[in-house]
């Protein structure tokens, strides 16, 4: 008798330029929480998409209960009992919960029957669900409950969860794991995709580790520790960077005073009384779950939004609240936004053309409006070599670089000009481990040379690793700063859940 519910055998999938899955094989037992662990870009999502019928593999087989399966669409996967909860919610924001539920169903069912079924499921698993509220009034955790109920309505045997905790507070995550546990007790199987080590150790039974398209190993999660998993996942031992407070001078370089903004757009987060200071040589972090006002704050800091703002942004005793992005750069303030493609770089343009997006005093890229190609080329080559950007030359389009390389490029573009202040959102989002540590080290080095850095990140480990002090942003409010060395993870979690101060 075959003990495995799902057998994945030698799956290969190639995308232009990347081998996303290279002979991926592992087996999943029934009634278990099976983790698929790996860095962003390790090939987890590709594999899951193949399993769920969203993409087709180049070669290899998948067996479900000894039966070979090859789905052409998610609806075929659903019929065979595979459900999926995506990392990014696929809900219609302006519709109600029950409307969203009925839209996801393959079969035709009356609203009354649907509501009965939904209430039954939500009671059984302690999922809070108000069927009549519109999605846009729900918190991330509640939205996820909707997604889970929607998947469970199909009565799946296997539930795929793609990085489900990335938008949840620690408390919401706890609730989620209780639900998952209950599901396995009923004999359902969970494939749990994550890059968080702690979740694997605490909540999963088996774990398959992937790195750059390959399966490294499949092992018993309960027998592992965070360190052993990290080594397997990253391929080398994680170095923890020591935070050195000696580079901080006492003078305040950059200050935000009581910054508030109200938006008419209900999908934007209002900001309330945000204040912080950056001393010379200091790295200050803003932690928080996505969607709590980080994007809106970043737009005010870069100067992309200068309308209807209360409060002040002060740089070297000068009020810059109303200055445009370009003028702020001319004062020597650098920016790196969260989105690489289409925001801090133009995908269609070459690297050297992308250099021109961000110009500092001292850059001689043009004279009387006419471009100086020699200077642009040498600056670009400098960024490429100093930041280890893997590219054939500077004429390559930004879109052809991998995430990590492009991120090194857009950060290098700012760092090389040594701005007095550097403001970065998500410096290592979606980059490989090597690029991640390179970027973090270069930011620390920059701070030692006297630059003040503001780092907005959802990655707590990152903030702990490189900041001197940090605050938490929640629902548009910013907490008082805490020195990173005195940080208490439990307290931070509570703060991220909305209890500021």
């Amino acid at each position: 008798m075959n003990p495995y519910l799902i057998q994945i055998d030698s799956i290969c999938k190639k995308y232009p330029g990347v081998l996303a899955n290279n002979n991926v094989s592992f087996n999943i037992r029934k009634g278990r929480i099976h983790a698929l662990l790996g860095e962003n870009g390790a090939g987890k999502s590709t594999l899951v998409k193949i399993l769920y019928g969203l993409v087709s593999s180049d070669s290899g087989n998948i067996f479900l209960n000894n039966e070979k399966i090859n789905f052409n669409s998610p609806s075929e996967a659903k019929i065979k009992g595979i459900g999926m909860v995506f990392q990014h919610f696929s809900l219609f924001e302006s519709l109600t919960v029950s409307e969203n539920l009925i839209l996801g169903l393959e079969e035709k069912i009356s609203f009354k029957k649907l509501k009965e079924k939904a209430i039954e499921i939500s009671k059984k698993y302690d999922l809070s669900l108000d069927l009549n509220s519109p999605i846009n009034t729900l918190s991330a955790g509640e939205k996820q409950s909707v997604e889970i109920v929607r998947a469970l309505l199909q009565e799946p045997k296997i539930l795929i969860m793609d990085e489900p905790t990335s938008v949840l507070t620690p408390i919401e995550a706890e609730v989620l794991f209780k639900v998952l546990k209950k599901l396995t007790e009923e004999g359902k199987t969970i494939l749990y995709i994550t890059h968080k080590l702690e979740e694997v150790i605490k909540n999963c039974n088996e774990v398959t580790i992937m790195r750059s398209g390959n399966v490294i190993t499949t092992c018993n999660a309960e027998a592992e520790t965070k360190e052993t998993l990290a080594i397997k996942m990253l391929g080398y031992k994680v170095r923890s960077l020591i935070t050195d407070y000696s580079s901080i001078k006492n003078n305040i370089l950059f200050e935000v005073k009581n910054l508030s903004i109200n938006f008419k757009d209900p999908y934007k987060k209002n900001l309330t009384n945000i204040s912080f200071t950056l001393r010379e040589g200091e790295i200050f972090g803003i932690a928080g779950v996505a969607g709590n006002g980080q994007t809106e704050l970043m737009e005010l800091l870069t100067g992309e939004n200068t309308g209807n703002i209360e409060g002040e942004i002060i740089f070297e005793n000068k009020n810059i609240t109303k200055l445009r992005t370009k003028t702020r750069r001319e004062l020597s303030i650098g920016f790196v936004t969260e989105d690489r493609l289409g925001h801090s770089a133009v995908p269609e343009l070459s690297l050297s053309e992308n250099i021109l997006l961000s110009q500092f005093p001292g850059n001689k890229f043009s004279k009387m409006g006419i471009l100086n190609f020699k200077e642009i080329k040498s600056y670009t080559e400098n960024v490429i070599s100093k930041f280890n950007v893997k590219t054939p030359n500077e004429k390559v389009s930004a879109k052809n670089l991998s995430g990590g390389n492009l991120q090194k490029f857009v950060i290098g573009r700012e760092v090389i000009s040594k701005p007095k202040v550097l403001i970065i959102s998500q410096p290592t989002w979606g980059v490989d481990a090597g690029a991640e540590s390179f970027i973090r080290e270069s930011l620390i080095k920059l701070s030692k040379e006297g630059t003040s850095l503001l780092i907005i990140s959802q990655d707590l480990d990152e903030l702990v690793e490189i900041t001197h002090s940090l605050s938490v942003i929640s629902n548009g409010y910013l907490s008082k700063p805490i020195e990173t060395k005195n940080l208490n993870i439990e307290k931070l979690g509570i703060m991220m859940g909305g209890e500021i101060d």
Partner: protein, 354 residues
């Protein structure tokens, strides 16, 4: 739910196919054009020859081709400033008309002046007139967020009606037997012809210079770079801190000025006065020229010759084969249709569901 054919992005598009697509489009146009001729009971070989070859088989024909290609190329390169920036100015016809009115007004006022400054003043006035007319949709777009496609198009008809009013009203030729036209410009208000006996005029030289200048601006200046970035990615342009409104205004102003110069080139060149029908839709046809030429000055130069030929061919076809001249517009439409089709196939592939 089940579709027979699905359209899937190719991911990366080939640069050579990007350049070859217009050539395929022209080939397909000829193929389908022959089909249309066959359906109309004409010998396709004779018809195509009359349409595309006989009009340019002598110097006079080539000169006429250049006369038509000149305004098309000039307007198209002006439009490329807008289209590169993702601004859909389709009101070049109105900007051309306004240029002709401003410049023509100067020409009428100084009709008996012998100063050599009359023509330069007319050209300048034409550029200003076109630019000002172009800046109205720019103002509406930046102030009230109106759609420039609608405003620029509607303003074209307003400009045409203003011209109409002027030539039947205040500017009507006092010695013109009540015909709806103005008094002819003086000798000093006419574009000099380049070769005796042919109609090809100095406007061609201006156009070539402006094509070269446009190429320089696109590829060598910060301004051209800013247009490119804001066309590709408005968010990146915001991140870089480029002044969006300035870019919108300048693209419209440049396009308007070029169209205005094209307008004054027409009225001070082949026509010599103002009347109702100064342009056979050059301002609209230039949109096709601009896309057929891939928004690139060199491409626009070639595309303008191809499209100019459809004008000449239509005239010859009407004259010698009694085919309605509007077949010329059918050909222009076919070129645009096939260009859009081949462009789709350059960027996407079709997948048949089995």
């Amino acid at each position: 739910m089940e579709k027979l054919i699905s359209i899937i992005p190719r991911g990366s598009s080939s640069q050579s196919m990007f350049i070859l697509a217009p050539i395929f489009a022209i080939f397909l146009t000829l193929l389908f054009g022959s089909l249309i001729f066959i359906l109309m009971d004409y010998d396709p070989i004779v018809a195509l020859k009359t349409f595309f070859i006989s009009p340019i088989s002598n110097f006079y024909g080539i000169s006429e081709l250049l006369v038509k290609a000149t305004p098309l190329a000039l307007i198209a390169v002006g439009l490329s400033f807008c289209f590169k920036n993702n601004i859909y100015n389709i009101g070049a016809e109105g900007q051309l008309t306004m240029g002709a009115i401003f410049g023509g007004g100067v020409g009428i006022y100084f009709y008996d002046s012998s100063s050599f400054l009359v023509l330069p003043m007319m050209i300048l006035a034409g550029a200003i007139g076109g630019a000002l007319w172009g800046m109205i949709p720019a103002l509406l777009k930046t102030k009230f967020n109106t759609n420039e496609i609608l405003t620029s198009l509607m303003l074209s008809y307003v400009a045409l009606l203003i011209l109409d009013y002027l030539v039947v009203g205040p500017w009507r030729d006092p010695d013109g037997f009540n015909f709806p036209k103005t008094r002819p410009f003086g000798e000093t208000g006419r574009m000099p012809v380049l070769f005796g006996g042919l109609r090809i005029h100095f406007g061609l030289i201006i156009t070539l210079i402006l094509l070269a200048v446009s190429w320089f601006v696109y590829s060598k200046t910060m301004f051209g770079y800013q247009l490119k970035v804001s066309g590709f990615s408005p968010r990146a342009a915001r991140f870089a801190g480029f002044n969006k409104n300035f870019l919108i205004f300048s693209a419209f102003a440049i396009c308007g000025a070029f169209a205005g110069i094209a307008g004054i080139g027409e009225v001070s060149g082949p026509i010599g006065l103002l009347y109702r029908d100064i342009s056979p839709n050059y301002g609209f046809t230039a949109i096709i020229v601009c896309f057929l030429g891939r928004l690139h000055p060199l491409g626009i130069m070639f595309a303008s010759l191809v499209i100019a030929l459809t004008y000449l061919g239509a005239e010859d076809a009407q004259l010698f084969l009694q085919i309605p001249a509007s077949v010329g517009f059918v050909f222009q439409g076919l070129v645009l249709f096939f260009l859009l089709g081949t462009d789709l196939l350059v960027n996407f592939k079709l997948k048949l569901k089995t």
